[in-house]
């Protein structure tokens, strides 16, 4: 079994477990249904938080919220970064200069502080969190795609196709996109993991919708319970979301790395 498959299987297992927690598990992730701070039991697999809400149900919902945020952000970043990078590389000239300047500007900004300011300005909602993270994720993709486009542009077959009257869309569909896509995919995969982590950071800092069940917010709530370290509660309230977050990010990173190896190897 390749490493890629191994990490994919781990993610799949997590998806199955949390899928059960989201759709078949008898407890709600939103409503307190139990006694506060119950230990893990058959009734509540990972116990309850201070309001009596089931933690496994929250984790399960949090998985899909995190994955949704990660994938949506990656798609937006992939679309934005891919198209801007290709236009910049293909058109060249002043357009390239201007786009490159904007790309470098976004890459040089310290992301988290700016995200905090923008997040505080726009308000707390999942949509805003996705928009903010996407805003800071496209530039890295665009830079890589631009470089690849410049490289492809120098190929003689492209010049030949152009001399035969191939339109931009034909060149884009037949040559540019097909060659850039694997690179785009790998970079977008890394965005998924980073977006999940950034959402968790923003949520932890209180810049996400305070009543959603993202992992960052579960961690935030557990840690704002004063004296949690002097009790046993951290074992079932804090440890599981942190473990899930680390495991998911790690798997996504490894998948991106293995995919890169696979594609570079194939090249």
């Amino acid at each position: 079994m390749t490493k890629l498959k191994f990490y994919l299987i781990i993610l799949l297992i997590m998806a199955l477990i949390f899928g059960y927690g989201s759709f078949f598990y008898p407890h709600s992730a939103a409503r307190p249904e139990g006694i506060s701070l119950q230990r893990p039991s058959k009734e509540h697999f990972l116990g309850t938080d201070d309001l009596g809400t089931d933690i496994f149900a929250q984790l399960s919902k949090g998985f899909f919220i995190s994955v949704f945020i990660g994938i949506t952000t990656a798609i937006i970043a992939m679309f934005l970064g891919g198209s801007i990078g290709m236009v910049s590389g293909y058109v060249g000239g002043k357009t390239d200069f201007l786009i490159s300047f904007v790309i470098n500007l976004f890459l040089s900004l310290p992301q988290l502080p700016v995200m905090i300011v923008v997040g505080a300005f726009f308000g707390q909602s999942i949509g805003n969190v996705i928009a903010i993270i996407a805003l800071f994720s496209w530039a890295a993709i665009a830079k890589v795609v631009r470089a690849k486009t410049l490289q492809i542009k120098r190929n003689t077959y492209l010049h030949l196709a152009k001399s035969y009257g191939a339109s931009f869309f034909y060149l884009f569909r037949k040559h540019l996109f097909t060659e850039v896509f694997p690179l785009l995919l790998i970079n977008s995969l890394t965005v998924v993991g980073r977006a999940i982590l950034q959402e968790a950071s923003l949520a932890f800092l209180g810049l996400s919708d305070p009543l959603t069940r993202s992992w960052g917010l579960i961690i935030n709530k557990a840690m704002s319970f004063t004296g949690i370290y002097y009790t046993d509660y951290w074992q079932w309230w804090l440890l599981p979301p942190v473990t899930c977050l680390v495991l998911t990010i790690y798997c996504l990173r490894m998948i991106a790395r293995e995919a890169e190896n696979l594609i570079i190897g194939a090249d």
Partner: protein, 518 residues
């Protein structure tokens, strides 16, 4: 050579470790009992002067460490502070100042400063305006008898007149007479007062404050050379590490400390409370008392006590004043959790509301429980969570639909019923005790709330306040959610001079906690 390098490295590591380890630098200084007393900071409560501090308790308390008032309060009653003596004859309150009272810049504090302050506050009301009742100064005029004696003549004696006259802080005339815009005046001189502590430093970004003992103080000696409010990530860990000397004890960590003979603990019973405000200007259907009572029935307030306060508190009294308050009326109407009855009232009304809260952990938890309860009875809730100051500003400006507000001071003599419920007095100050029901007026409640203030007979005043609570419980213009009992702990062998006043339980906000006791 190698040995020397190893020895040098070992020594360096030991020195670094020694520097990093939490230390009680806190031994007695030459002049004061302690060199440093540290409390948890981290929140910006404004610059500590009468015009720049935050209106909430911690902001006022910091300002009052620097700026003195004529009187103070201990656990028994009012005590001398800047005034060594006071007499009341009808409308005339005569105060005699200590001869050796001085401002921090060495200038003597005289009755000219007191008189100037009264006039100045009429022109430029401070953040906490003790002299104001319903937008008017209670001091009709004054007579300066000599440098130490001043007569303050009030238009009408009230139950709280002495407390009010004793509480306003005195400005140095020689500084402020040249200041035409006190709200933007933050020069070094703006922090010169006559209190037991001098201004050291203030860092708004980190919520850090430093106060320095006033060695020339005319009154009780400051206990510590430096009083610090320092930012900490986890107050309990900071307390254990010796980074702070006093902190709240969470109920779940109580076991660990309560049998420790070195730890002192003091309860602040039901002094912190939460209420749900309904903007009846925007939602006029709540002008119908049936709707407001249905809100009470819809909310499982016991769950707030059990889950958010971890059982340490009481379900809110519909008459507002908590059961542990001396003025509490046990006959106020009570409203049980009855979601079926509430749902019947709200059925088919399709009410959708934005619930404004502050982003503190307790507020978010309270909001979560409210949201679930109200959803269950057919009210849609969208939660808007903002910074505490923004929430307070929005509530004072009436920019909310429903709002959760938590604040301390519920254990005080409940003149706050006047500033909350009287149509004349509500929204005349910036403190949460002025955040009353918007779009709601009631003649009887206003009359009772105002008349208790004018009643000088203590027992009769108590009766009026109890009658007022009963009327409030019938009308329920505000949904009183719950009151919370908190516990603070401190290391007895280091410092145990923490005291409440007879009227206020927040001992860390009491300046008597920071001076030597008789």
């Amino acid at each position: 050579m190698a040995k020397n390098i190893i020895a040098f490295l070992m020594l360096s590591i030991m020195l670094i470790l020694a520097a990093c380890s939490p230390s009680q630098e806190n031994v007695a200084s030459d002049q004061f009992n302690l060199s440093t007393l540290k409390l948890a900071g981290g929140t910006d409560w404004g610059a500590p002067n009468p015009y720049l501090h935050d209106p909430r308790g911690p902001g006022t308390a910091k300002m009052k460490l620097i700026f003195d008032s004529l009187l103070e309060a201990d656990e028994e009653g009012d005590i001398a502070w800047l005034a060594k003596d006071w007499q009341i004859e009808g409308n005339v309150y005569t105060f005699t100042l200590y001869e050796n009272a001085r401002f921090h810049d060495g200038q003597p504090l005289t009755t000219a400063d007191v008189a100037f302050t009264i006039d100045y506050y009429k022109q430029f009301p401070p953040v906490t305006n003790y002299l104001d009742v319903d937008g008017e100064s209670i001091v009709e005029r004054y007579e300066v008898v000599d440098d130490q004696t001043i007569k303050l003549i009030v238009s009408e004696p009230m139950a709280t007149t002495l407390v009010k006259l004793g509480s306003f802080v005195i400005l140095p005339k020689h500084i402020w007479e040249n200041v035409s815009d006190p709200y933007n005046y933050n020069e070094a001189e703006a922090f010169i007062g006559s209190g037991p502590y001098k201004f050291g430093s203030y860092e708004p970004a980190t919520g850090s404050y430093e106060f320095l003992a006033n060695g020339d103080y005319h009154g009780p000696k400051p206990v510590t050379e430096r009083l610090l409010f320092v930012p900490v990530s986890d107050p309990l860990l900071a307390f254990d590490n010796g980074e702070i000397d006093l902190t709240d004890v969470p109920i779940d960590a109580m076991e660990k400390y309560k049998n420790n003979p070195a730890i002192g603990m003091i309860a602040k019973e039901n002094d912190m409370g939460y209420k749900l405000l309904v903007n009846m200007e925007s939602f006029s259907q709540f002008k119908d008392v049936k709707m407001r009572k249905a809100l009470y029935h819809a909310l499982n307030r016991e769950a707030i006590v059990e889950k958010v306060f971890r059982g340490s508190g009481t379900v809110g009294s519909a008459g507002y004043v908590p059961p542990t308050n001396y003025f509490y009326n046990e006959n106020v109407l009570k409203y049980d959790y009855d979601p079926t009855a509430a749902a019947a009232v709200f059925a088919d009304q399709k009410i959708a509301v934005e619930l404004l809260i502050s982003n503190t952990a307790d507020d978010v938890k309270v909001a979560e429980l409210i949201k679930n309860d109200l959803n269950n009875v057919g009210i849609e809730i969208q939660v808007l969570s903002v910074d505490t100051k923004v929430r307070d500003e929005k509530v004072l400006a009436g920019e909310y639909e429903f709002a959760v507000v938590g604040n301390g001071g519920w254990g005080r003599t409940p003149d706050y019923l006047r500033t909350l419920y009287s149509s004349k007095s509500k929204f005349t100050g910036s403190n949460p005790h002025f955040m009353g029901p918007l779009g709601y007026d009631n003649e009887l409640i206003t009359e009772l709330a105002e008349s208790q203030l004018l009643e000088l007979d203590f027992e009769r005043r108590k009766e009026i306040l109890q009658e007022l609570q009963y009327e409030i419980s019938k009308e329920v213009p505000i949904v009183v959610l719950a009151t919370k009992t908190t516990y603070v702990m401190f290391k007895k062998d280091y410092y145990d001079g923490w005291v409440k006043t007879y009227d206020y339980q927040q001992l860390e906000q009491n300046r008597l906690s920071y001076v030597e006791k008789k």
